[in-house]
C-alpha cells in the first residue's frame, strides 16, 4: 500500500469570491466526485437556469442554511490523490463567523486565503490572514482568483501580491505563497494554465501535494498528557499498568528517563504499546500506552515529560482568546470551567488587557468588553496548576477551551502566550 500523508487545510470566504467553485473544482478535477453527485448538481443547475454545471453546488449546505441563504458552520470535505489525503475545513468568511474560522484553523496545516482579482486585498482577506497568524497555521497560501475577469494580467497579480506582502509584514506568518487562478475555468487549479505563461510557480494541486508538512508538529519538547490508566485486572496481565495518551510533542524511546507532573517522580520508559503492538519510539500524533519501570502514582490529567525539558507549571496564565458566545460577553472576574490537554479545572478571569481589532491589528484598551467573535488578551488564574507551553511552540499543550458552567457551552478558545 502507498504511504500517503494527511494534509488538513482551511478555506474561508464569502458567497461571491469563488470559494465554493474552487472547492468544487478541486473535487471535480481530482475525480473525487461521484456520478450521482454530479448528476444531482447538473439537475439543480438546469433548474436554476444556469449556464453549464455549477460546481459550487457541490458544497451546498443544509436545508436550514439554504432557507436563510447562509452557511452556518464548518463543513468538512475530503479528497485524495495518490500522494496525499486532504481534509478541507470549509468555513464562511464573514466577520460574524470568526468563531468558525478559528475552529477550522485550529487543526490546519495550510490556510488557503482567496482574493478576488477584481477587488484585491479587502477587509476579509486581512481578517482571514490575521486569524491564520494568531492560530499559527504553519503555511499560508494566497490564491488570487477570477484572473479570467482581469484578462489574466500579470500586472494585476503583481499589485495584489505586493499589497498583501506589505500587510503581512506585520503578521506572525512563516511561509506565504501566491498562485494566480481561475476556479471557474480551472486555470492553475489542477491543470497548468496556458493563459498565464508569465507565472512559473506551481498549480494549487501541486502546492497542496508538495508543501512540506512533516515538521509541522513539535518534535522537540517531549510531552504526553495522560488520558487514562490502563489496568486490565486479568490473570494474564496481572501487573500491567499503562499510561494511555496521544503524544503532544517530542518523542519517547524505550529507556528514556522521564518525569511525571505534577508529582515530580522520575522513572524510565520500559515499553511503548501502540495500535499495532510494541514499538521502540513514539512521536506526534500517535496514540500510545507507556509502561514505566517504577510504580508511581499517575492519573488522568497528569503529564509525562523529559527530565531536562519541562513545560511551565503554573496557575496564572496569559491567554489570547476568541469569544464564541452570542448571548453573554466575557465576565471580568467571572468563573468558568476550562479544559487543557486532559485536565479539567476551573478558572477566574483576573484581567482583560486589551481587545484586538481584527481588521487593523490595533489594541483597544478603552473598550474591553469581549463579545462574540472578538479576540482579546486576558489573564486567568486556575484552581490547579496547568502544564503549558506557549501556543507558538506547541499548539496542543498551548491551547485551552473555556466553558460556561451554567450552559456547558464552549464559550472561548484560548492560546497560551
Amino acid at each position: 500500500m502507498q504511504n500517503t500523508e494527511l494534509l488538513r487545510f482551511t478555506t474561508a470566504g464569502s458567497v461571491d469570491d469563488g470559494k465554493s467553485t474552487l472547492i468544487g473544482r478541486l473535487l471535480y478535477d481530482s475525480k473525487s466526485i461521484y456520478q450521482d453527485q454530479y448528476e444531482q448538481i447538473e439537475r439543480v443547475s438546469e433548474k436554476r437556469g444556469e449556464e453549464g454545471v455549477n460546481l459550487a453546488l457541490l458544497t451546498d449546505g443544509l436545508k436550514s442554511e439554504r432557507e436563510q441563504g447562509i452557511t452556518i458552520d464548518v463543513a468538512y470535505r475530503y479528497f485524495s490523490t495518490p500522494k496525499r489525503k486532504f481534509i478541507i475545513a470549509d468555513t464562511p468568511g464573514h466577520i460574524q463567523y470568526t468563531r468558525n474560522m478559528v475552529t477550522g484553523a485550529s487543526t490546519a496545516n495550510v490556510a488557503l486565503v482567496l482574493i478576488d482579482a477584481r477587488h484585491g486585498v479587502v477587509e476579509q482577506t486581512k481578517r482571514h490572514a490575521i486569524i491564520a497568524s494568531i492560530l499559527q497555521i504553519p503555511h499560508l497560501l494566497v490564491c488570487i482568483n477570477k484572473m479570467d475577469l482581469e484578462e489574466y494580467s500579470q500586472e494585476v497579480y503583481d499589485k495584489i501580491q505586493n499589497d498583501f506582502e506589505q500587510f503581512a509584514a506585520k503578521l506572525d506568518v512563516k511561509d506565504v505563497s501566491f498562485i494566480p487562478i481561475s476556479a471557474l475555468n480551472g486555470d492553475n487549479v489542477v491543470h497548468r494554465s496556458d493563459k498565464m505563461n508569465w507565472y512559473e510557480g506551481s498549480t494549487l494541486m501541486h502546492y497542496l501535494e508538495n508543501v512540506h508538512i512533516a515538521s509541522d508538529h513539535n518534535f522537540i519538547d517531549t510531552r504526553l498528557p495522560i488520558q487514562s490508566v490502563i489496568r486490565p485486572y486479568s490473570d494474564e496481565f496481572h501487573d500491567y499498568r499503562g499510561y494511555a495518551g496521544r503524544i503532544a510533542g517530542g518523542s519517547f524511546k524505550i529507556g528514556d528517563k522521564v518525569v511525571a507532573l505534577p508529582s515530580g517522580f522520575s522513572s524510565e520508559v520500559t515499553r511503548i504499546v501502540g495500535p499495532s503492538g510494541d514499538q521502540d519510539v513514539a512521536y506526534p500524533p500517535q496514540s500510545v500506552t507507556l509502561l514505566l519501570k517504577d510504580d508511581i502514582d499517575i492519573s488522568r490529567g497528569d503529564m509525562i515529560v523529559r527530565e531536562n525539558n519541562q513545560p511551565e507549571v503554573g496557575q496564572d496564565i496569559d491567554l489570547m482568546i476568541c469569544w464564541f458566545d452570542g448571548e453573554k460577553s466575557l465576565k471580568p472576574n467571572g468563573k468558568y470551567a476550562l479544559k487543557h490537554t486532559s485536565q479539567d479545572v476551573r478558572c477566574v478571569i483576573k484581567d482583560v488587557r486589551y481587545k484586538l481589532d481584527i481588521n487593523t491589528l490595533s489594541r483597544d484598551q478603552e473598550d474591553k468588553e469581549i463579545k462574540m467573535n472578538d479576540i482579546g488578551r486576558i489573564q486567568i488564574r486556575t484552581t490547579k496548576p496547568l502544564f503549558t507551553d506557549s501556543y507558538r511552540t506547541n499548539r496542543i499543550t498551548g491551547s485551552v477551551i473555556i466553558i460556561d458552567e451554567g450552559t456547558n457551552n464552549t464559550v472561548a478558545a484560548g492560546m497560551v502566550i
Binding site: M1, T4, D36, L62, S64, Y76, K85, Q227, I230, Q286
Partner: protein, 300 residues
C-alpha cells in the same frame, strides 16, 4: 529519524484518542453496532484503544428484525471474540408495544422506526454517550457533524447549536437527561476504511463480497428478494452476482452488481467507481434532505 506516519495511522490514532476521551469523560457509554463495516472498524479500534484491558463499552444493536442473516452470524462471532457485552434494541418490540406503527405498502421500511427503538434503548440502558460509525464523507448533513455531538433530552440534533470543536479538546459536559453521540471515525472516507480493513486483515461479513443472489430492480436500484419487501407485479426476480456496499435493513439496502470477491478487488472497485456508497440507500432518496431531517430527530 523519519518521524512521519501515513494517513491511515494518523486516522487510527485520532479515533483511538476520541474513544479514550469517551471512556474518561462519560459514565456509561455504548457503542452502536449495526454489523456494517464501519461499526466493525469501530470495534477493532476500541479493542486497540484499551488493549490489553477489555473494551469498556457494551455493543448496542438496534435490530429491525429484517436483517440479512449473515449480519447476525457475524455479530455474534465478533462479540464472542472480544468478550464484549451485547445489548439488543428491538424494533419488533417497539411495534408490539405500540411505540411505533409499521409502515405498509411497497416501500415499507423499518429504517425510520429504528430511531424510536434506538432512543428507547438508550434511555433504558441509561447511556450517556453513544458511539457511532458515521463518517462525514457519507452525506452532506454528516459533513457538518462534530466528533462530540450534543443531543438534548429528546435525543434531537440542532445543527445551529453545535459546540465549536478546536484542537483536540472535546467538551462532553451535559445536563441530566442529555446525551452525546460520538463519531470517532468522522474523518475517514469509504476508501480509508477499506484500505485499513485490508491493512489490518480484518475479517468481514460475506455480504460485502460478490455472491449470487436473487434480486429485483426498483427505481434503478437492485434490492435483495426477501419476505420483508412487497414486490410490485411488474418487478421480476432474477439471479445476479452482487455485493453490498453498505449493510442495513434488508428493505432499504441496495445491492450492487459486482465481481469483487476480495478486499483488494473492492478497493479497486471503489477507487474507480462512479457512485457514492449511499447511492444505493433508498432511505436517503426519500427526499433531498431526508438525512438532515432524520438526524434532527435522533437518527444515527
Amino acid at each position: 529519524m523519519n518521524y512521519q506516519i501515513d494517513h491511515l495511522r494518523e486516522l487510527e490514532s485520532e479515533s483511538i484518542f476520541i474513544m479514550r476521551e469517551v471512556a474518561a469523560q462519560f459514565e456509561n457509554p455504548v457503542l452502536m453496532f449495526s454489523g456494517g463495516k464501519d461499526s466493525i472498524l469501530m470495534v477493532y479500534l476500541a479493542h486497540k484503544a484499551f488493549y490489553p484491558a477489555k473494551i469498556p463499552f457494551s455493543l448496542l444493536h438496534v435490530d429491525t428484525g429484517h436483517n440479512f442473516p449473515e449480519t447476525l452470524k457475524y455479530r455474534d462471532e465478533l462479540v464472542e471474540r472480544f468478550g464484549a457485552k451485547l445489548v439488543i434494541g428491538s424494533v419488533q418490540e417497539a411495534i408490539d408495544n405500540g411505540l411505533v406503527t409499521e409502515e405498509k405498502g411497497f416501500n415499507a421500511s423499518r429504517n425510520g422506526l429504528q430511531t424510536s427503538a434506538l432512543l428507547e434503548a438508550l434511555e433504558k440502558g441509561k447511556y450517556d454517550a453513544a458511539l457511532g460509525g458515521a463518517r462525514r464523507d457519507e452525506e452532506k448533513a454528516r459533513a457538518k457533524e462534530r466528533f462530540f455531538s450534543h443531543r438534548d433530552e429528546f435525543g434531537q440534533w440542532d445543527p445551529k447549536n453545535q459546540r465549536p470543536e478546536l484542537w483536540n479538546l472535546f467538551n462532553g459536559r451535559k445536563n441530566m437527561g442529555e446525551h452525546f453521540r460520538i463519531f470517532p471515525i468522522s474523518n475517514w472516507t469509504e476508501l480509508d476504511v477499506w484500505q485499513y480493513l485490508a491493512l489490518e486483515d480484518i475479517p468481514l461479513p460475506s455480504l460485502y463480497f460478490a455472491h449470487e443472489r436473487k434480486v429485483f430492480k426498483r427505481d434503478g436500484t437492485l434490492l435483495a428478494d426477501c419476505e420483508y419487501i412487497q414486490k410490485r407485479p411488474n418487478e421480476e426476480v432474477f439471479t445476479q452476482m452482487v455485493r453490498c456496499r453498505t449493510i442495513g435493513d434488508m428493505t432499504c439496502t441496495g445491492v450492487w452488481e459486482s465481481n469483487a470477491t476480495t478486499v483488494e478487488d473492492i478497493i479497486q472497485e471503489i477507487a474507480t467507481t462512479r457512485m457514492t456508497e449511499r447511492g444505493g440507500r433508498t432511505d436517503d432518496k426519500r427526499s433531498e434532505t431526508s438525512m438532515e431531517d432524520r438526524k434532527k430527530l435522533g437518527y444515527f
